[in-house]
């Protein structure tokens, strides 16, 4: 999911400006260093080669009422017990029940806001959503009355997003449990990436989904205001019945279409080696298709565009193709034969910027300027989740940084490669790069929470977004400074190839980075991931005095030697080695490497030249440094930037005065 409202805020401001010059996508050459070879782990099951260990097999038969925005469905779930022990009690998610006033989700939203536009702190009955299990049985035994709502994360007895059921007898290791559900969904008006808007239905997290046996226990968290999802890999066989005029995008291959006598149609989808299935329908969609040839296989690209947004269709397609290319080249092959993008309609933007396996949602508007790369960014970000969530299926509840954070980092790298330096905003009069966008998000709340915090335990939603997305991306960009960009890319490639179709942890990621880089990086991760230390270095002073300052003739002596002092300070608690470059007026320079362990350091030079400037981290590689403006000191003042800002301030004030004077 894109934590996109910061983006939208900027877009909202910048969209008022004049249309900007287009940027031609230009794919930059990939890393020069060859990627390490990692063998693809294929799992044998009954003689069939599969990409993942298929724990679950869902068969769902659903019927959509597009007027009432409700779904009636039956579901059978076969759960393969690979836990290594008998299992008798199974937990299930009922995510749609989050959209009720007393749910944990809404309680948290009311307290501290939500991730997107969301329902706000108030309650709007239109945002009511629910999933009711009308019937549940297993092996012919009716278990409906055995269902028990549980709340593993808090004491909210009104939360109905998780229930558990106990079978009459345990399922032995290697055995299969079979569940049959009959359920009824009421979709909310779009909230938190799910629901309807007019004739548009975005159907996500809509069926009873079993928890994950992980770390020797069931992992099935309630739905929180700032958390996402976690599920096991398997197969989905889904039939959707709906009116024939509906255009459908779904996270699976369409294997059959059947026109029913009542004027409806039934679409049959199949998907393997994924952990979720979602779909969207609207009679107003325009379908745009394209193809891309990857290293694994050709991929069909399907984009369903909402009315008014056709001008963004090719922007979406090009962003998908570019992302496929870069991910395929840098991190590993895309193993699916399709990717579908749903473009939400106007007013339904809260369904935008969301990822499901092989299906993503975009974000644009009818008047999106070309210089604002929001459609491209959202597309790239959600596509990136096919890797960091879709295949490397980390626990989004507990370690959100592993999907959102790593994905935000790769978003920076891919967007820069595809669209150049100013890949966030590229207007004639204002620019912003992707890495700066991530850094700004980090700076909005840099030290309230550590990165490695349970998703629902953050101080606020802003803290969750700033730390999980922005700080993690910034942390990884800074890590490049230590291990190098190519090594970082190799580490991610190794991490992907090693852990795809599994549920790795933060430790797995850190160990992989250490292994590939061949360095002990715990000193860094302990501060950056597990701590809340702030990083800020400054050049506090730089000046030169004649060595023999007491001699009066020193001013006219060309051979005079000057003593230069440069003082640098670490004003934050984050210890990090930095480089210092000191430049002198004879063109010479000196480079120092400071380990940053002490609070300050003073450097002294005796030269026949005076200091001109001193700068810490001249390449701006230490992205986590909170303030770049105090990283350097020039002896001569340069007020051009101040003059420029004064121009803008003065003009703005004058213009405001003129507007007000209109009243006279």
């Amino acid at each position: 999911m894109r934590f996109g409202r910061l983006t939208c805020g900027f877009v909202g401001i910048l969209a008022l400006s004049a249309a900007a010059a287009a940027q031609s996508p230009a794919v930059v050459a990939a890393a020069k260093t060859p990627l390490p070879s990692v063998k693809m782990d294929e799992t044998q099951k009954g003689g069939e080669k599969t990409l993942s260990v298929r724990v679950v097999a869902y068969n769902i038969d659903a019927k959509l009422d597009p007027v009432k925005h409700t779904i009636d469905a039956t579901e059978t779930l076969e759960y393969l017990n690979l836990t290594g022990q008998p299992q008798q009690t199974f937990p299930f998610h009922l995510y749609l029940n989050a959209f009720q006033p007393q749910s944990t989700f809404m309680t948290e939203v009311h307290r501290s806001g939500t991730r997107g536009n969301g329902p706000g702190s108030g309650w709007d009955p239109l945002h009511y959503g629910s999933i009711e299990v009308k019937h549940l049985e297993s092996d012919g035994v009716d278990l409906t009355s055995q269902m028990q709502f549980i709340h593993p994360d808090d004491d909210n007895t009104q939360d109905k997003t998780v229930f558990q059921v106990t079978l009459p007898k345990p399922v032995p290791p290697g055995g299969t449990a079979k569940f049959s559900f009959t359920f009824h969904d009421i979709l909310p008006e779009v909230v938190e990436r799910t629901g309807y808007k007019r004739d548009f239905d975005m159907v996500g997290q809509w069926f009873p989904k079993v928890g994950v046996w992980w770390k020797n226990a069931w992992n099935c968290h309630q739905f929180h205001a700032s958390t996402e999802f976690f599920a096991d890999f398997g197969t989905f066989d889904v039939k959707i019945t709906l009116p024939r005029n509906e255009v459908v995008g779904a996270a699976g291959d369409l294997v059959d279409r059947h026109d029913n006598p009542d004027g409806s149609m039934t679409l049959h989808y199949s998907s393997q080696d994924v952990h979720d299935f979602s779909w969207a329908a609207s009679p107003s969609f325009t379908r745009v298709e394209d193809r891309w040839q990857g290293s694994a296989q050709p991929v069909q690209i399907i984009v369903l565009i909402s009315p008014g947004n056709m001008s963004s269709a090719q922007r979406y397609v090009q962003a998908i193709k570019g992302s496929l290319t870069m991910f395929d080249k840098w991190y590993g092959p895309y193993p699916y034969d399709r990717i579908t993008l749903i473009d939400p309609p106007h007013g339904g933007e809260d369904a935008g910027g969301m990822e499901y396996p092989t299906l993503i949602t975009g974000d644009t508007s009818w008047n999106m300027p070309k210089g604002i790369l929001l459609p491209e960014i959202v597309t790239e970000h959600e596509f990136g989740h096919q890797y960091w969530y879709g295949m490397v299926a980390t626990n989004e509840f507990e370690e959100a940084w592993l999907d959102e954070g790593i994905n935000s980092y790769t978003e920076v790298k891919v967007m820069d490669a595809l669209y150049g330096r100013n890949s966030f905003a590229n207007l004639p009069f204002a620019q912003m790069s992707e890495d700066q966008a991530q850094r700004l998000m980090y700076l909005s709340d840099p030290d309230t929470d550590p990165i490695a915090r349970l998703g629902w335990k953050f101080y606020s939603n802003n803290a969750y977004g700033a730390v999980t997305y922005g700080k993690t991306a910034t942390m990884l960009l800074t890590l490049e400074k230590i291990i190098g960009e190519d090594t970082m890319r190799n580490a991610l490639h190794t991490y992907f190839m090693r852990y795809r179709f599994t549920h790795p942890t933060g430790t797995d990621f850190i160990n992989t980075v250490e292994e590939v880089s061949g360095r002990d990086l715990k000193w860094y991760f302990n501060q950056a991931v597990y701590g809340t230390q702030m990083m800020d270095y400054e050049v506090s002073n730089a000046h030169s005095d004649p060595l023999k300052w007491w001699e009066s003739s020193i001013g006219s002596n060309k051979d005079a030697v000057y003593r230069t002092y440069v003082s640098v300070r670490r004003t934050g608690d984050f210890q990090f080695p930095v480089d210092l470059v000191v430049k002198f007026d004879d063109g010479s320079s000196a480079t120092e490497h400071w380990d940053g362990q002490d609070r300050w350091m003073r450097y002294q030079y005796d030269r026949k030249a005076k200091v001109v400037s001193a700068e810490i981290d001249p390449q701006n590689q230490v992205m986590m440094d909170r303030n770049w403006f105090n990283n350097s000191y020039t002896v001569e003042a340069d007020a051009r930037a101040t003059h420029k800002m004064r121009n803008i301030f003065v003009f703005a004030s004058e213009w405001l005065s003129q507007v007000l004077a209109w009243l006279t």
Binding site: F10, S17, A18, R198, D199, P307, G308, P345, H346, G347, S365, W366, A425, P428, F429, A430, Q431, M432, S433, Q436, A437, R439, L440, L443, S613, E615, R626, N627, W628, F629, N630, N631, S632, Y633, T634, V635, A637, D638, A639, R640, A641, T642, H643, K644, M645, R646, N647, F649, V650, F651, S653, E654, L656, S657, Q658, L660, A661, W662, L663, T664
Partner: protein, 316 residues
């Protein structure tokens, strides 16, 4: 559309040019106040970035992130002092309220005003124009209601329609109507000010009533006059903005300052042009009206014819 009094448009420009010192004076006050408004923030900003190499991020381009970083820094060098900025804007409002009487008097009389005469006129009309401004705020309420209705219509269409464009068109239509109404209201109050000065009308409600009748009876002529000058003002402003944002190099700070100040100067100039044209229009209108009055001529003195009375000698 033909103007009933075509001279007012160009003559107004001539009058503005002739008394251009007024334009320069208003511009100078506006500029000085804006400098004062910006000084606090800019002073802090200078302390923070003048000795930093990172300031090049603002010199060689306009990095939004650099601005945001400065605004979010712990010592917040860029955090604008909104209170002081707003205060200076209100000072300018009071200044304009004060000086409008003097400016209009100059245009109406078309005579060189000595300082004392000018400021006497400013003070003489100040309270009248303050009352007019309060009336203006009342008159803007219906315009606000129209805007709110338009906004509600936009919201309804945006919610109900599959395509975004009906709502967009509704918003565009509302914007046109609101701008039109704002221009009409401003024109009405401009003419009330002219009447107040020209006729030395003390009762502003009467001036407003007379101006309403005047504008209603001569709507096309007056609105066309007002609209043309407004259009030129907006055009000049847009051209300036285009040059500043799209054409000038990011490093051309001095040129950017010149362009931005020319934009403000022209904006003030066109507003004064409107004032001058309206004053001339009214002067012309009154002259025409007076010329059309039937000339009073005293009734001829009755000539008393000598009555010839026939006298009958017989009766005498």
């Amino acid at each position: 559309m033909a103007s009933a009094r075509p001279k007012a448009f160009l003559s107004g420009l001539g009058l503005t040019w002739k008394w251009q010192r007024l334009v320069w004076w208003v511009f100078a006050v506006c500029l000085v106040l804006a400098f004062c408004a910006a000084s606090g923030s800019i002073g802090r900003l200078g302390d923070g970035i003048n000795h930093s190499l990172a300031s090049k991020r603002l010199v060689d381009g306009f990095e939004i992130s650099a601005i945001a970083e400065l605004a979010s820094a712990p010592d917040a060098p860029l955090q604008a002092s909104n209170t002081s900025s707003t205060a200076y804007t209100f000072i300018f409002l009071i200044f304009m309220l004060f000086s409008t009487g003097g400016i209009l008097s100059t245009y109406v009389r078309d005579e060189y005003p000595s300082t004392s005469v000018f400021f006497e006129a400013c003070g003489y009309h100040f309270w009248r124009f303050l009352r007019l401004m309060l009336w203006l705020l009342v008159a803007l309420i219906p315009v606000g209601i129209v805007a709110a209705v338009g906004g509600a219509m936009y919201g309804h269409l945006d919610e109900a329609k599959i395509s975004p464009f009906p709502a967009v068109h509704a918003a565009e239509g509302t914007a046109i109507v609101v701008v039109f109404l704002l221009m009409v209201v401003r024109l009405w109050f401009d003419m009330a000010q002219v009447i107040a000065v020209f006729e030395d009308e003390k009762r502003m409600h009467k001036a407003l009533r007379l101006a309403a009748v005047l504008v209603a009876q001569n709507f096309l002529s007056l609105f066309w006059l007002y609209f043309r000058i407004s259009f030129i003002g907006v055009l000049l402003f847009a051209a300036g903005l285009h040059i500043w944002m799209m054409t000038l190099a990011p490093t051309a700070t001095v040129l950017a300052f010149v362009v931005s100040q020319l934009m403000i100067l022209f904006w003030i100039g066109t507003r004064m042009w409107q004032r001058a044209s309206e004053a001339l229009w009214y002067r012309d209108y009154r002259a025409t009206q007076e010329a059309m009055q039937p000339v009073w001529t005293p009734a001829p003195t009755p000539v008393i014819e000598p009555v010839v009375v026939a006298v009958d000698p017989a009766t005498t």
